[in-house]
Amino acid sequence: MTSTDLTGQQTAAPVDTVDHAAATPGLPQPYRELGLKDDEYQRIRAILGRRPTDAELAMYSVMWSEHCSYKSSKVHLRYFGETTTEEMRAGMLAGIGENAGVVDIGDGWAVTFKVESHNHPSYVEPYQGAATGVGGIVRDILAMGARPVAVADPLRFGPADAPDTRRVLPGVVAGVGGYGNCLGLPNIGGEVVFDETYAGNPLVNALCIGSMRVEDLHLAHASGVGNKVILFGARTGLDGIGGVSVLASDSFSGDETGSGRKKLPSVQVGDPFTEKVLIECCLELFRDRLVVGIQDLGGAGLSCATSELASAGDGGMRVELDRVPLRASGMTPAEILSSESQERMCAVVRPEDVDAFLRVCAKWDVTATVIGEVTEVSEEEAARGGRLKITWHGETVVDCPPRTVAHEGPVYQRPVERPADQDELIADTTEALARPSGPEELRETVLRMISSPNLASRAWVTDQYDRYVRGNTVLAQPADSGMIRIDETTGRGVAVATDCNGRYCRLDPYTGAQLALAEAYRNVAAGGATPAAVTNCLNFGSPEDPGVMWQFEQAVRGLADGCRELGIPVTGGNVSFYNQTGSTAILPTPVVGVLGVIDDVRRRVPTGFGTEPGETLLLLGETRDEFDGSEWARVAHGHLGGVPPRVDLGRERLLAEVVIAGSRDGMLSAAHDLSEGGLAQAVVESALAGQTGCRVVLPEGADPFVWLFSESAGRMLVAVPRSEELRFTDMCRARGLPATKVGVVDPESNAVEIQGVATFGLDELRTAWEGTLPALFG
């Protein structure tokens, strides 16, 4: 095999070919260093009938990793499919298994969306980790044939005042912004959550939405014998190779004196400009119908793209690896196959279209190279999922059934066990915690809550993101959901929200996942859109911990059962395990993204008060004494225990229907869902968003503490123009949705008055709410 020093000087050593592998069955291979277990290695040998070559070993090891193969989660994720009814599937043009789910939104438009995690890379190198996280999810969406049209970024960090958070958060935010802004994708939502379990394990999830005409959907497959495989975009370099560099190290080169490659950093650097050009180039290729199949290169690089394309097609694939344009000299076949260089795509193209394809690439100054073709396979090979043959200067270095690489990785039934301390945790409720009493303490609690890191304004973050670009953003931060116009003529659009309260999930992962779903669903409805589909990003600790697997199993079941009850399908998602430090896992964090559809974005419902001269405030839903897991319990007592708020998905559905009907009939001038921080938080946010004061009058006999801070689910604060009040409350009554009058908006006032409790100047509230993050992060 060839080994190289960092300056690219080649030291002659033969490449490990298939023939060589067959001839040297006993050669020791560093499979453990590459993360493979003994039995997994033996399985590869059994599949191939010989030892793998270095290149094959690189491919299998990265494709059989947890990240690519879902080996610990697969058995559980099946439940999503099992719980999806035909009716739910009706609007789905592509679902789980494709790069991203695709939803028919009407008027001939389809929308695709997906969230993905880039957690660990963002801890190692916050800027580049976050940037390439955005880049990766955007290419996923692009590979569906869609134009990426918006992004969102659910983020989680350690304590806001921890020194490491001061390193990680600004870098992550700058990276998300730096990449997304440069791509010209409006950032329309996300989350920023602080909790000590995320110290050392920040969660950087990135979501992208794409739109296309229904007939333009492209799926990744390499069909049509003779079709060419074209690699285009950035050159392939040594970045992101990480572990595979052991294949080039001394101990395994069989040459004790050779200068092996020192272990490379597994960090990738993003080039958003190249990606922007790649997007435009791809869209032109799609428009000109020059693409038969397409796949993005993400984690696992060419290993993934070639094996997935080949196994999804109807033939085999032959790739000449030496044709791959390189950025570094002396790269080995194994390194080329596992490089995670960003901003690359792989397409299957009819031979007669190759010239036109290359012309489009040249117009955009995008490097494009034919690296192989779709080949004919025997019936026997076809039964095994085709054949992938990769050569290096004429010698075969990979020869395998691609399905065994891409889809037939190991599947584990990991032990699942409810943690021993779960009962203790549930028993430790908030019942005994001291509550504020009297106007003075309540007043102080309001200010302390709205300025706490988890409830304070996110403007420090979101002001670094372009939310205007493309000119279709109708709702963005601060709003319950981001909403964009898809069709400029009809006004049809989509809304998206992501949510998860990891504290609730820690107390009860099943209910917690449903609460995450319920909140995202409610947030989408608050803007006036009809929830239509779900994506998720399941962030958990180590799957080798039976307690974590229990959390995972419970969360998946809760989410899937919840989706069935709400009648909206999960169209895709992503799993991120091993988010833990030592034996301490992060809070179970199944981030749920809900996509909604709105037929005309002009009827969107804003968050801020004051768009109509006279407005009545109504609280929809029921308020119970529910403080376990609440933000108040954290802020006031640093407490986590008990059971999360009750979830009633039937009620969520009704609430959404009423709000959407209100939006359709022009009965609502503002809406804001209640979640962390309860009613007080919602009132403050809506008053500040509209720069309009209000007077809150709680019902007779109400306990102001409970009414102001409880986190009961299934509630929304709405502002109703005076003229619509009767009509709207009649509708609520007729449909059985509790609606309580809790005050009036006062356009003349610069204050939020909570009668009998306190009066706050808008300036005072703004200072408290907006000051926190700038004071922490500059």
């Binding site: 950093p265 990738q268 080039d271």
Partner: protein, 90 residues
Amino acid sequence: MARVVVDVMPKQEILDPQGQAVAGALPRLGFEGVTSVRQGKHFELEVDDDVDDETLERIAETLLANPVIEDWTVRRVTVESADGSVAGAV
């Protein structure tokens, strides 16, 4: 008082999109013969005389460069020519 120059460059194996963009632009502007460009950062520090080399090295490593993706060099500059160009000595 001494002047210290720290140059920070992307590591060889790390992508340098900025350098690439410059290299790509040169031929379009009619400049031939430049085969590669890499772009990094250049810091000029004025430091008290009692700041030792080890401290400078630590400053470079912890603040000026990101060791995960960048290499750096630290030089004390002894001569400053009139046009502002510096002739360095380590």
